[in-house]
């Protein structure tokens, strides 16, 4: 999360993807970086043990969220992403990417 915010602050469009199980840490890190409510894509947990088909499903969930973040479109995350972000727009403060 910190890396993505650092990238944005350097003017590089960026979007983070996080599993639902790690949202608390992601939100805490965003707050530390001065970007509370920072928006990121959320996919169900876990990822590491998925087979190819599972990874494809996750990628399909993440893709539209990432595009919306990069385009600055404020939408709800994919319904399949359990515990997903409320979609609160957040920015790292400088890039204007809407992410």
């Amino acid at each position: 999360m910190a890396d993505v915010i650092f990238l944005e602050r350097r003017g590089v469009p960026a979007a983070a993807i996080c599993t639902a199980a790690l949202r608390a840490s992601a939100d805490a890190m965003a707050a530390i970086q001065g970007a509370p409510g920072y928006r990121y894509a959320v996919v169900p947990h876990p990822v590491s043990s998925l087979d190819d088909e599972g990874l494809r499903t996750h990628a399909k969930l993440a893709g539209p969220q990432v595009l919306d973040i990069l385009r600055g479109i404020d939408t709800e995350p994919a319904p399949n992403a359990r515990g997903a972000s409320s979609g609160t727009p957040g920015t790292a403060g400088t890039s204007g990417t809407g992410a």
């Binding site: 910190a2 890396d3 790690l22 840490s25 805490a28 530390i32 970086q33 876990p46 590491s48 087979d51």
Partner: protein, 378 residues
């Protein structure tokens, strides 16, 4: 009660203690979120000053800055947390060296403190400070009963939580954590070791006091009082090193804490410490079938992110079922790549054939992290 009030009204010896303000101060620390769950010693300004008076270092000296946390640790902050952990003021130089060793290892900047893997720093104390400050290097070396071990180890956790804000359910993403995260600090039993102590192996003078740090996920016992054959003892230790549950990537590092009885037996058969490291590198393996049975054959094939072997399915895909008899099942898969990835320390009592295997996390820049204790000049 504000903490500074605890410094007022000095008590004369023999005068009864009014416990209420003390308990209030302890509860105040809980309310601030400053504890690891156990009570801390309230860090009154006067107490912190006593710690700072035991070092020549500038209280505002920055020991490390970690950009992702936007936080720095100063000498004063280390002293405050050492006080809270229950250290004596004269421990401060050792606590500073311990923290420097933890930072030197490289995990703090690389996110190791936040990892789901849930480990924490294991400290190893060498040199005269062991006796000067009362560190235990003998019986129950991983257990309770010794203030220096318990509180210096605990100070690391309080620094991580309080200075850097890495707390459970927030930045600390540990899935389960480990009991060693409360405190994990041992001293090497140099007197009953047949070999040069760790700090001398790392280039320090024997008269130096030094701290070494390894971020570990677990410490497991190896009980072998069954044989006097050095190879059998090391094979037994190698089996614990290569336990499938601990295999995350193809190779790992390992910290072996030999009990003096094992160490002396090995040395008595002519083995140097380097010989032990080399033999452990050879004997720490699993058969490919063992890895297949645990769904970890991909780790042994290429890397942690390798595709599984044909016919095998990883993780949450379909259950892999019986794999014995598959091609190459008897192949040895070594988990250690080099003797340089083996740390050997001697600690404990020479009263049984018991040793321990500490499982470190990954491959940080330094193994171990290390720092020499700076003597107080005054």
């Amino acid at each position: 009660m504000a903490l500074h009030e605890a410094d007022q009204a000095p008590r004369t010896e023999g005068e009864p203690v009014d416990v209420d303000p003390l308990v209030e101060a302890i509860e105040y620390c809980y309310a601030q979120g400053w504890t690891d769950g156990l009570p801390v010693v309230p860090p009154t300004p006067a107490l912190v000053d006593r710690f700072l008076s035991e070092t020549d270092r500038d209280p505002d000296e920055v020991l490390v800055h970690i950009p992702q946390f936007r936080r720095s640790a100063t000498v004063r902050q280390v002293a405050v947390n050492a006080a809270m952990a229950g250290c004596r003021p004269d421990y401060v130089a050792v606590v500073l060296a311990a923290f420097e060793a933890v930072v030197d290892e490289g995990w703090p900047a690389a996110g190791g403190w936040q990892s789901t893997t849930g480990g924490g720093p294991m400290l190893i104390v060498n040199g005269p400070a062991r006796h000067e400050l009362g560190f235990n290097s003998r019986g129950n070396v991983f257990g309770p009963g010794f203030r220096a071990n318990a509180t210096v180890g605990r100070a690391m956790r309080l620094i991580i939580m309080n200075v850097f804000g890495i707390r459970p359910h927030e930045l600390d993403q540990s899935t389960q954590g480990t009991t060693g995260k409360y405190s994990l600090c041992i001293a090497e039993n140099e007197e009953e070791s047949p070999w040069a102590p760790l700090h001398v192996e790392l280039g320090d003078a024997p008269s130096d006091s030094a701290l070494s740090a390894v971020h570990v996920r677990s410490v497991d016992f190896v009980d072998n009082r069954h044989t006097a054959d050095p190879r059998q003892i090391l094979n037994d230790i190698g089996d614990s090193i290569a336990r499938t549950g601990t295999i995350v990537r193809l190779h790992k590092r390992i910290c072996v804490v030999l009990g003096p009885e094992h160490a002396q037996l090995l040395a008595g058969r002519g083995m140097s410490k380097q010989d032990v490291k080399e033999y452990l590198t050879e004997c720490s393996f699993r058969r490919r079938d063992d890895l297949r049975r645990a769904g970890k054959d991909a780790e042994a094939s290429l890397s942690a992110h390798a595709d599984p072997s044909p016919g095998l399915t990883p993780g949450m895909a379909e259950p892999s079922g019986e794999v014995e008899g598959a091609e190459g099942g008897d192949e040895r898969i070594s988990v250690l790549e080099s003797p340089d990835d083996v740390l050997v320390v001697v600690a404990g009592a020479p009263n049984a054939g018991v040793s321990a295997v500490a499982q470190p996390l990954g491959f940080p820049p330094h193994f171990p992290g290390h720092a020499v204790v700076r003597p107080h000049k005054c």
